[in-house]
Each structure stands twice: as C-alpha cells, then as structure tokens.
Amino acid sequence: MTVSYALLGLLKGSSRHGYDLKRSYDRRFGEVKPIRFGQVYRTLSQLERDGRVEVVGVEAGSGPDRKRYSITSEGVTDLDTWLGEPEEPQPHRQSVLFTKVVVALLSGRSAEHFLDVQRARHLDAMKALTTARRNAATTQDALLADFQLFHLEADLRWIDHTESRLAALAEEVRDVPDPRRR
C-alpha cells in the first residue's frame, strides 16, 4: 500500500524507469529493507491497470526496464487524497510489554524485574540510535532516527509510570475473580 504511494510520489517529479525508481526508493525508504525489482514492476503494473501511471516511452531492447512511467492526473489526485488523510494512530505497537507485566503479576513473578531489564534494553537501543543520528549524513536519516527515539522514549515513560503503580495493579490482578466461575 505505502509502496505504491511512495512510487507515485517519486514519479510526481518526473517520468522514470523501474530501475531508477528502485534506486530512489531504496535511498529514501529502503534502509531497513530494500525493495525488490519484482515488487517495483508488480506495483507499476498494478498502478498502470488502475490508470494511476502510464507508460510514456518504450526503449528498444529487452527486459522489463525498457518502459518509462509517468504519473497520470488520476494518480496525482489519488496521491493528494492519501497525503491529506490522517493515518490511524497505532498506540499498541508495544502492547507485549503490557501483556508481560500482567502475566508476571498473574503468575506471581517479578514484574519489576521485567521492567528493569526492558528499561535497560530500551536505553541501550536509544543510545545506539542517538549515535546513529549524530553520524547521520542527511536530515532525512536523522529524522528517521528521531522518529524511533521518540517512540522508544514513550515506551520508557510508560515503563516508569507502570513501575510506580505496580502495587495497585498487583492487587487488582489478584482480586479480580474469573467471571466464568461466577
């Protein structure tokens, strides 16, 4: 889903070949996982079928890369719509942290210990990201690291907050009867 809009965005500047698009995509978004050629061409074919891109030139030779693609006015409209719509907030990305705390208390284990080791792991990750951000060659790279740093920081705040309320949570977890036994 995001890939098709990323390609539309890249095509908004000028018409391009698939190979060129892959390289631009990888430079902008492919740090974690570069896009495969196959996916670029599949996505372009899909966009072409939907009328969002069109082939504006075919060069002589063989292979899939002889086509040159351009964004259509439908594609531009679609891109604008996508960019104007807010994404669904996803506050549950780290809900496994929450689950572990409750399971620890349910099973009479130390939730503090888990929160401590998790805090240490988060701080280590933040330190590595801070170093990466300092060495970032571009603003885009720096902001990508910032994006991750702020999210890890939010987890850490939750970890600290939860730790200060563990006693209350432990009591609640102990006291709530299983509804099926009622």
Partner: protein, 229 residues
C-alpha cells in the same frame, strides 16, 4: 580509565525525609553518566552531595582519590570553583551581566584578571554558536542560547567534572539536542567527565552510561545501558 569521582554509601536526610539511603556511584575520567530516577528518588540530592553543595550525613565522596565531603567550607568552595563546573535547568545566569561576562564568571571568582577572563571566555561564544550575542543580557537570549552560555560558563575554567542538573529541562527538543551535542563534544575534547541528572530518556541516551536511582538507593548494583568498550 581511572576514577575521578566516587560516592560511597551516601546518606542524606532533610528532616524526616530520607533522600539518600546508601547510594553509591563511580564516575570515570572523561565519562559522561546520566542519573535517572522518578521525582523524589534522590537523584538531585546525589548530585549535590557529589558536587560538595551538600554534606552527606554518612558516607564518603572522593575526588581524584581524595576525600572531599569532610573538607572545610572554604576548601570545598575552592574545589567547586576550580575543578567543578555546573549547569542547571534554567541556566541561572546573572541577569545584570552580559553573556560573555557570565561565561567569564568562574574565572573572575577564581581570581583571574578581568581582561584575561574575558579573553578566555570569548572563544566559547563562536564555539557554541553564540557569535554576536556576547554583549546581550541573559533576558535578551533565547532559552537555547541562555543554556549554551550556562554550558560555556561551566566549561570555561576547564573543570575535571561538570555537574548538570536537568540541563535541557526548559528547552524544546531541537534546542535540547543542540545543547547536548555541544556539551558531550566539549567534554570529550577536554577529557571532562559529566554527571547529569535528567528525567528525559532522550537526553540520557547521550551519555556513555545510565544509572538509575530509586528510593534514595543507588540504583545501582546494575550498570544500566553500559557502553561497550
């Protein structure tokens, strides 16, 4: 790396409130350490005891191998002016003095001549991106600029240890990053150790190591987030 500062089994009470209950901490030469912990955990008290601003009720503070918690006031003051530097949350600059004189203040207090002190302070302005603001009063500086002046003041006398209490507490995230980068770079360049108290993980992430204070006890036992050698 050798130890520059150590607090051992520190206790400190204010009335009935036991702020420190046996906290221990070690700071190596050139090391940047963040002290974290919830409000009321005793982290600021720990910093103040280590810096000689407070006298612990029990326990020892050693600087460069020498015990300093039992020194007479005058000697401790001398220590604070010559080998320690301080950065606080709101800069705490002298409002009547222009930026460059605020930077020069520790040198003046240590008895340097005015002209010498100002000459030593001036290069810090450009170094911290404060060109052209040297003659401004603290009230005319932005929060980030003021905090950079406070940092220059902490570093101007080439201290062995800088104590920073919530050094970015009043700044937005961009200014906070700038301040931290400058602080860490300057400390590395001069081999200065930094002990900073912060409640912000993003600030602590600049440190080589993070120490957690909880209920007035060194966190510690464990060295959280230790840098790989």
């Amino acid at each position: 790396m050798s130890q520059i500062l150590a607090g051992d089994d520190l206790h400190k009470s204010f009335g009935l409130t036991r702020a420190l209950r046996g906290a221990s901490i070690v700071l190596d030469e050139g090391e940047v350490v963040a002290v974290m912990g919830p409000s009321g955990s005793g982290k600021s008290t720990l910093l103040h005891c280590l810096a000689g601003l407070l006298t612990p009720d029990r326990g020892e503070v050693r600087f460069a191998g020498r015990r300093i918690d039992d020194l007479p006031d005058r000697e401790r003051t001398h220590l604070r002016r010559t080998v320690f530097g301080f950065v606080f949350q709101f800069g705490q600059l002298v409002p009547e003095l222009p930026a460059v004189e605020n930077i020069a203040l520790p040198l003046l207090l240590a008895g340097r001549r005015r002209r010498q002190a100002l000459a030593a302070a001036a290069p810090w302005l450009s170094r911290l991106g404060l060109d052209g603001v040297g003659e401004r009063l603290p009230g005319e500086l932005s929060g980030g600029q003021g905090q950079r002046v406070a940092m220059a003041r902490a570093l101007v006398a080439n201290p062995r240890v800088v104590f920073a209490d919530e050094p970015t507490g009043s700044l937005d995230s961009v200014a906070a990053d700038e301040v931290m980068e400058l602080l860490v770079d300057a400390a590395r360049e001069h081999g200065t150790s930094v002990l900073m108290v912060t409640h912000e993980p993003r600030v602590a992430a600049w440190a080589d190591r993070t120490v957690l204070v909880r209920d007035g006890v060194d966190a510690l036992g464990q060295r959280l987030g230790m840098a790989s050698p």
